[in-house]
Symmetry: C2
Subunit: 399 residues, 2 copies
Amino acid sequence: MIEESEALEKVLTSTPLPVERDIPVSESVGRFLVRDARSKTNLPQVCQSSVDGYAVKVSKCRENLSRLRVIGQSVAGVECDACIEHGEAFRVFTGSELPMGANAVIKQEDVKVLSDRLILIKKKAELNDYVRRVGEVLTKGQRISNKGSCVKSSTLGSLIAGGISEVKVGSFPSIGIITTGDELIHEEQKQIKCHQTYDSNGLMLKAAAVKVGVEKIEIKRTRDDLGEISAEVLKMEQWADIIIVVGGMSVGERDFSKVALKECGVKQIFWRVRIRPGKPIFYGKFGESCQIFGLPGNAVSAFVCFHLFVLPAMRLRSGASADGVKLDQMKAIAGSSFKNSDNRPHYVHGKFREGKFHSIGNQNSNNLLALSQADSLLRLDERSSIQFGDLVTVFRLID
Amino acid sequence: MIEESEALEKVLTSTPLPVERDIPVSESVGRFLVRDARSKTNLPQVCQSSVDGYAVKVSKCRENLSRLRVIGQSVAGVECDACIEHGEAFRVFTGSELPMGANAVIKQEDVKVLSDRLILIKKKAELNDYVRRVGEVLTKGQRISNKGSCVKSSTLGSLIAGGISEVKVGSFPSIGIITTGDELIHEEQKQIKCHQTYDSNGLMLKAAAVKVGVEKIEIKRTRDDLGEISAEVLKMEQWADIIIVVGGMSVGERDFSKVALKECGVKQIFWRVRIRPGKPIFYGKFGESCQIFGLPGNAVSAFVCFHLFVLPAMRLRSGASADGVKLDQMKAIAGSSFKNSDNRPHYVHGKFREGKFHSIGNQNSNNLLALSQADSLLRLDERSSIQFGDLVTVFRLID
């Protein structure tokens, strides 16, 4: 049995480097950049007005002129090759290129239009008023996003504005899920016998993995049968980057998964981690690239182990930085007191409501109903307690 | 100009009811239930063992027997129609059905196997030890998820385990986005002229909307041209549930969008909301069903307005409960002091790191680079301040 931190370290250090690929920037949301993304252009590329008004030339040594001749206009999206002098003004709009010589814009609210060609300035203009300088938003070559960061919708905005049409990202892993158990039946089967159970782990883990990002994902169900499990693992090893085997990870007479993995030639890296739930988790590798996780069959254990160990591996091989592989954290106020008298750290599942973290129902590892309402995990160290009202850090579960 | 809360209220009360549809439960993640989901089965359906061990019959009035005859075994997934009496035991495994008469399980660690047919009990068993009672996890008819709640990966687990193969959910809306501006060019265009800008708003909003959930989504780009904008709006109105027009929402000579919407026959519900950024936001309707949002063209304003007004409408018409349409909240510690001396509430964009909220760069509404690093919004009331170290509520931006 090893410590949780050591287990995670072993997972991360044995995770292969991301396979890089170029994709259109419009398809990059949710992916991790494997190169810094730098702007290819200045934004704006020319001096622009940030309001509707009049471009003017101001100078400290000259008296402010109150009447100006309007000698032309510039609109957004059209080049402006005019030039203005003192005493002249140019009609401009938000985003218009300023004419040469202009160094300030007066808002139209501060101007009285005397005629088509003449305006009266009601408010003194200062140098650079309402001027968007070249490269003010983005400078050519400026880093927009770091290598290892995740592209979000809002990141997309600046990548596109910076003229980036393709980005280099990590490929998402292909994932095979094997759920084991003689009692398991497919969710679409209408008739269930009293000794059977619908297999919920497979689709639950698939849904979470899809949210994290997968290239391909498949679920196979096997009976509690050494040969059947081994055969499925060997088939999946042909295409999967990560194989998740659910159930049969203990040492009972009817626990075949761990033996099956050994017989297939999986190299064990660890088995059993000092946490609750999830102690019987197994991790190993097939050759250099394929990672194998054996998760306990209880739904809560499987889901928690997925978050603690599989998700970081998925993110890392998708190109995330070391920081970015972790679960999302947030602060919360403990909605009740929590006590862990066990000698293993305990992950309590619960929900975050109006700033407070509340645990849900009993924390049995087969309490699916409680898990279904959970959106976060609170980690309780071994032999520790948290008081009602304490400020705590909680981890967000994948929606 | 109206208040933010009034504006949101107007959006929500004018949002059509969700269009209901039945979908396979496996495709329901991210969707909102429009009916309570209730378990169709007991889980477990029969009394089961929760460990590997021996099922026994215990009784208070009898002395505890230390030697028991093993009269059979029961494995998970196979019906058990045996019956045991005092003095007898039945080999069982995790998930095995218990034989009739059995009312406790002794863990195999607490048993010494004397022969194939005889065991020695090392530890006294109590009634119901390691027994999973019928319906302990889910009871037939029990509510698993409320109407209006979002199906998450973890919810999927209990829906499937409860024998639910189809769920009734709200349809996602179809969304049309129109970005306006003579200066805008498509992100894939390699050559950009100095007075042009890549259109980043379209794809940024599309990416965020896709994350929230859409049936169909399209972006059209138009010039600053009344006729062109109107024509596009009228075309989109044929299929879109929500139309988002970006840019041209002010009253300048070159602001055509609002006029175009009026000319198309859009009924204005509000225009201008007392917030920063995003004041010029427009909201209206086309007939009973089609909702039209006019967002300011500055990236930050557009993105903030999308979160404050469009996202709640999208979620509501997808079936979310009134509570569920809001932005996700979390607690944070203010990473610096914030002051809003303006007479409008201010949404500060920033990032949440290690429990602290930090604003990013200047808060200009065209500061795309700052927005690209933001993951959350802090709302500062008008004429208010927040001190470094204060516990604050922040709103999560769509990734």
